[in-house]
């Protein structure tokens, strides 16, 4: 594993049982992700990109192979260690926002800090700062149902940043948003990478996301078929050649 890799996957396979059939969602993936990198995982639905994404975040464990996250093998962690990783090292952003509906924006952002053992006063102050930063300073007291999709996703971003994780994992973060809002979300993520050196990993088939990426990994049928760095993507003309399609 290279010294500066924050995530390192080796021979990762994941099998699912679908009724009688066994499906290999991942059929052997090797991938190193550098600290401070903006990486997009691209592929059609059913390609295994969500599965890979879940592996990286410790939401799922490989059937075979290893995923090493910040120097620690996910398969060797117990429940409380996995919870620690999900809480402190990784921040999740989902396509469907997944805010806790009964909590206000502020309480949603406080939740990971509560799990991390931060006291309420400190957590509340930091939550409001983070909401301010994503442009929702005035709306800390609103519940998800009182916010638009874009606003909910911004709350989710603030929540992902709550414990100052090294990695932000975003699963189709723009999938449920209109073009303009989606762009705002992407530039926010790119800002975290640029200003705070966060590692951004996103599963997507949104071409806007690709332009912000340092590297794009193409996944088909559970295997990596292509990797492109920023230089190899034709960004200067504003078009991105996408060999796999989505």
């Amino acid at each position: 594993m290279p010294a500066d890799a924050i995530v390192s996957a080796r021979g990762v396979k994941r099998r699912y049982r679908m009724g009688e059939e066994e499906v290999w969602a991942l059929a052997g993936v090797d991938l190193d992700i550098q600290r401070g990198e903006y990486l997009s995982i691209m592929g059609p639905s059913g390609s295994g990109k969500s599965t890979l994404f879940n592996m990286i975040g410790g939401l799922d464990r490989p059937t075979q192979g290893t995923v090493v996250l910040d120097g620690h093998d996910i398969r060797k962690m117990d429940l409380r260690q996995i919870a620690y990783v999900r809480c402190r090292k990784v921040g999740f952003i989902f396509q469907t926002f997944n805010l806790v509906q009964v909590m206000t924006a502020e309480q949603n952002v406080m939740l990971p800090m509560t799990f991390a053992g931060v006291d309420d006063t400190t957590a509340s102050r930091r939550a409001r700062e983070l909401l301010q930063r994503v442009g929702l300073g005035e709306r800390y007291d609103h519940r998800p149902e009182q916010l638009s999709g874009g606003q909910q996703q911004r709350v989710a971003i603030a929540r992902a940043m709550a414990n100052d994780p090294d990695i932000i994992l975003a699963d189709e973060p723009t999938g449920n948003l209109d073009l303009k809002t989606g762009e705002e979300i992407i530039s926010m993520l790119a800002g975290f990478k640029r200003e705070q050196g966060k590692t951004i990993i996103s599963a997507t088939h949104d071409h806007k996301m690709l332009a912000a990426s340092d590297r794009v990994v193409y996944l088909v049928d559970g295997r990596i078929t292509d990797v492109k760095t920023r230089d190899q993507m034709d960004i200067s003309t504003g078009t991105i050649t996408d060999r796999v399609g989505s």
Partner: protein, 217 residues
């Protein structure tokens, strides 16, 4: 991995605070679920008390009351084999009604929150946190719903008792039986509520978070 890199277990006070807040915000839903428990328990408590009173007539009623009941044909009817079978049926239905009503209400209210459970696990919530959260929520609902139901059942049973047996209704059941019925009602109400909530919460808490979030109900 160093020992310090483990998530801490939240204190009960904090879990209770989160549970209580959820119940308050979901007020209408909380009220609906609680009223299911209340209804079931009102029925159960009512049946248990009125049965007890009828049984008490044979053993403890005064001669005057017995004669009045006999004159009006009520005594015969109350002690008939047919009536006893009917009572046994009513008791069975009351028990089933409470069981199905309460467990169903709790199953639905927890399974529709699987996504929330998955989300909390993604943010670092431990399985035990999820289980405790639902334990507290269901305990609150169980205690309030059961207590209300017991009061309603008790009032109905004694109102009927007084109209049938006059003032003697109060003495037909010895204190020990009253306490036994109250305890049985209370524990079955709270027990069923907690059971109905904990079973789905426990299974969701032990799923991988992605599976919990994906499951549609």
């Amino acid at each position: 991995m160093p020992e310090t890199e483990k998530i801490a277990i939240l204190p009960y006070r904090k879990v209770f605070q989160i549970a209580w807040q959820g119940l308050r915000i979901r007020l209408v839903k909380t009220f609906l679920v609680t009223s299911c428990i209340t209804l079931a328990l009102a029925f159960l408590t009512y049946i248990l008390f009125s049965n007890g009173m009828v049984a008490g007539v044979a053993e403890r009623a005064s001669e005057a009351l017995r004669q009045r009941l006999a004159r009006e044909g009520i005594l015969e009817q109350m002690l008939s084999a047919e009536q006893r079978t009917q009572t046994a049926w009513m008791l069975g239905i009351a028990l089933m009604n409470s069981f199905v009503g309460i467990v169903n209400a709790m199953l639905i209210s927890v399974t529709e929150r699987f996504r929330e459970i998955g989300t909390m696990k993604c943010l670092g919530g431990l399985d035990s946190f999820i289980v405790k959260l639902y334990l507290f929520e269901s305990l609150c609902q169980g205690i309030v719903g059961t207590a209300l139901g017991m009061v309603i059942g008790l009032v109905l049973a004694y109102a009927e008792g007084v109209s049938l047996f006059g003032r003697e209704a109060w003495t037909l059941l010895p204190a020990a039986s009253v306490l036994r019925i109250l305890a049985a009602s209370f524990f079955s109400g709270v027990g069923l509520t907690v059971l109905g909530a904990l079973y789905p919460a426990w299974s969701a808490a032990h799923m991988e978070p992605v599976d919990a979030m994906r499951s549609e109900v």
